[in-house]
């Protein structure tokens, strides 16, 4: 088991190196001249050339890549072309905000989605099930920004209950300002978790071991949780894990709608400012988080399903 974990962690290294390379390569194709971005209209041809040399932009792409990775290992992602601030500091400033949003969204989605999926599956084809399926379909289909805007319209503009944007500074204000964006982000995730829970529960419900469990005379709640849910968990965990990965990368649109100072807003701002190293830094952090979320899911499998665990220990 430990050897498996070690192997998986080591495997992250080539994955991340390739991701960085691909992003690096694509960014180099954009017709952005960093020197022009920094100096603006004041730059003379000489000063532009000097700056390019200072930034190492005159070197071949591969050398630039190696230099970037070398700095990255020291925790240095360079400085922003626009603000001149350290990018790594900027990102780690904004990352907790994104994490708060992502984690609360996933928590909401799990707390609503899993019970809804379970009840829906147990009452298949009833009015409840049809309603849940319909609502989940809408939840999966409606784009996040629309949900967000409608939420703002109703709860901030009409009713005035919740702030329309920005993150609250104190804890009560923070919680209040979190409600709208968190529910907005969770809509989609919740719909996916509900649908996945329903379908994998339906698969398990028909299994013979459920009849065995019932024939022992155990309570229906025990049958549902100990025998059904624990067997239905693998695909549900997969969906949750992927969603956490996606959301940690910043819910780009929602963060912008609600002016939430997270990584998603930072990335969009950096793109508009043509701030290449900031974009690159964000992508690196996002891909690391995404890979880690996936790794956690893979490791969780082993704890949920002993059959998978026995494969690992071979």
């Amino acid at each position: 088991m430990y050897r498996y974990i070690l192997k998986r962690v080591l495997l992250l290294i080539p994955v991340l190196l390739s991701v960085i390379f691909v992003v690096f390569f694509i960014m180099s194709l954009t017709p952005t001249d960093a020197a022009e971005v920094i100096l603006g209209n004041d730059g003379t041809p000489e000063s532009l050339a000097r700056l390019r040399q200072e930034l190492g932009l005159d070197k071949p792409l591969l050398v630039q890549y190696v230099n970037y990775v070398r700095n990255l290992l020291k925790g240095d992602m360079g400085t922003s072309y626009r603000s001149g601030l350290s990018i790594s500091e900027q990102i780690f400033d904004k990352l907790p905000n994104t994490m708060i949003l992502a984690c609360s969204a996933v928590l909401i989605a799990v707390l609503i989605g899993i019970p809804a999926g379970i009840i829906s599956a147990k009452k298949q084809y009833t009015a409840f099930d049809n309603t849940v399926t319909f609502v989940a379909l809408i939840g999966a289909a409606v784009p996040g920004f629309w949900m967000g805007l409608m939420g703002v319209l109703l709860f901030s503009v009409k009713l005035g209950w919740l702030p329309a944007a920005r993150m609250g500074k104190t804890l009560p204000l923070l919680l209040k300002s979190l409600i709208l964006p968190a529910f907005t982000v969770s809509t989609n995730t919740c719909a996916m978790i509900t649908r996945q829970t329903r379908s994998s529960m339906l698969e398990v419900i028909k299994q013979d071991y459920i009849d065995t469990a019932r024939s022992k005379g155990v309570k229906e709640s025990v049958v549902t949780f100990r025998h059904m849910l624990s067997n239905a968990l693998i695909p549900i965990i997969t969906v949750i894990g992927l969603q956490i990965g996606v959301l940690l990368g910043g819910s780009v649109i929602t963060e912008n709608v609600f002016a939430w100072p997270g990584i998603g807003k930072y990335v969009v701002d950096s793109i508009t400012n043509r701030d290449t190293p900031a974009v690159l830094g964000c992508v690196v952090v996002i891909s690391v988080l995404f890979s880690l979320a996936n790794l956690c899911v893979d490791l969780l499998y082993a704890f949920v399903d002993p059959r998978i665990k026995s494969q690992y220990s071979k």
Partner: protein, 325 residues
């Protein structure tokens, strides 16, 4: 021997989108304390429906119990509430399912699965339940060291032993075994059956043994009921059914067993197929395949005729020789 379970005119239908499946159409059966009753029938005759019906495990919907009674120690199981039926399951009546490969929970240790039934019914501590579960494992011939292992680490025969341990853990009075050896290979079949009959005789457990293997019936059962299209068409002791069978279907069934003595090219079989339970023929369900069918067989369903010594047959051919005639 007192009566343990009495099924009276049980009718179970499955109401599907494309028609009503007439799975059981009036089954009458009696199981006495400590006896083994064999229930024989082709695939689709309603054997499993009957077993699940007794356990209260008929999937509803689409299943629907139209009428009938299942009397266990004079209590009608069909009118019990959820709580009461749960107390019967596992404690008084337990069941072994057809396929051991799929009837154990894959993410729970086998030991915990045995202990679960004990904890549910006996008010004892977790440690005592575990100890009792370990005893059960030893009793079915599996070392209790394998308590913390999972189903995938066991072979088919071992899994069926675990299932048997679960079923017998609370000393039930009735064990329903739904084709317990169909999924096992022949040598393991013999071992498992031998163990089951040993355990049931030491504990005086009655058994409803569902099978389509007549050899198993001959070896293990006291009484036999032949099920066809959801009705018992012949019932009697093993001797009566095997030696003095009266129903043409039973005759065909026994005739299709290949003989070891005679040298034959082709296996004998009953012409035709079981009727579709969605549209059963009028009259006797066997009439379209029956060589002795008379005109009335096609429009009138025969009642169960009582013959000598508890032997009963559902066929007009026996009308005149029955005790009531």
């Amino acid at each position: 021997m007192g009566t343990l379970l009495e099924i009276k005119d049980l009718v179970i239908h499955f109401e599907m989108d494309d028609g009503v499946v007439h799975a059981l159409n009036g089954v009458d059966l009696t199981i006495h304390e400590g006896e083994t009753l064999g229930l024989v029938g082709e695939t689709g005759a309603g054997k499993t429906t009957l077993a699940k019906g007794i356990m209260g495990l008929t999937p509803r919907p689409p299943g629907k119990i139209k009428s009938g009674e299942i009397l266990y120690e004079d209590r009608n199981l069909l009118t019990l509430n959820d709580q009461e039926i749960r107390e019967i399951r596992g404690r008084h009546i337990s069941m072994i399912f057809q396929d051991p490969m799929t009837s154990l929970n894959p993410v729970m240790t086998v030991g915990d699965q045995i202990a679960e039934v004990i904890e549910t019914h006996d008010r004892i501590s977790k440690q005592d339940a575990r100890r009792k579960a370990e005893e059960m494992m030893e009793m079915v011939g599996i070392s209790c060291e394998r308590y913390p292992e999972y189903a995938h680490q066991f072979s088919g025969g071992m899994k069926q032993r675990i299932v048997i341990a679960i079923a017998l853990a609370c000393n039930p009075k009735l064990l329903i075994a739904d084709e317990p050896t169909t999924a096992l290979d022949v040598t393991i079949q013999a071992q498992v059956l031998e163990m089951m009959s040993r355990l049931k005789s030491t504990r005086n457990t009655a058994m409803l043994l569902i099978t389509h293997d007549l050899g198993i019936v001959a070896q293990n059962c006291d009484h036999v009921a032949i099920l066809y299209a959801g009705k018992v068409i012949e019932y009697g002791t093993v001797r009566q059914v095997f030696k003095q069978h009266l129903h043409p279907y039973t005759k065909g069934l026994l005739g299709s067993i290949p003989s070891l003595i005679e040298d034959v090219e082709r296996l004998t079989s009953i012409e035709g197929l079981m009727p579709d339970p969605v549209n059963l023929p009028q009259g006797c369900a066997f009439s379209p395949r029956c060589a002795h069918a008379m005109e009335r067989c096609f429009c009138e369903a025969p009642p169960l005729y009582l013959m000598e010594d508890g032997h009963s047959v559902r066929c007009f051919l026996c009308e005149h020789s029955s005790k009531e005639a």
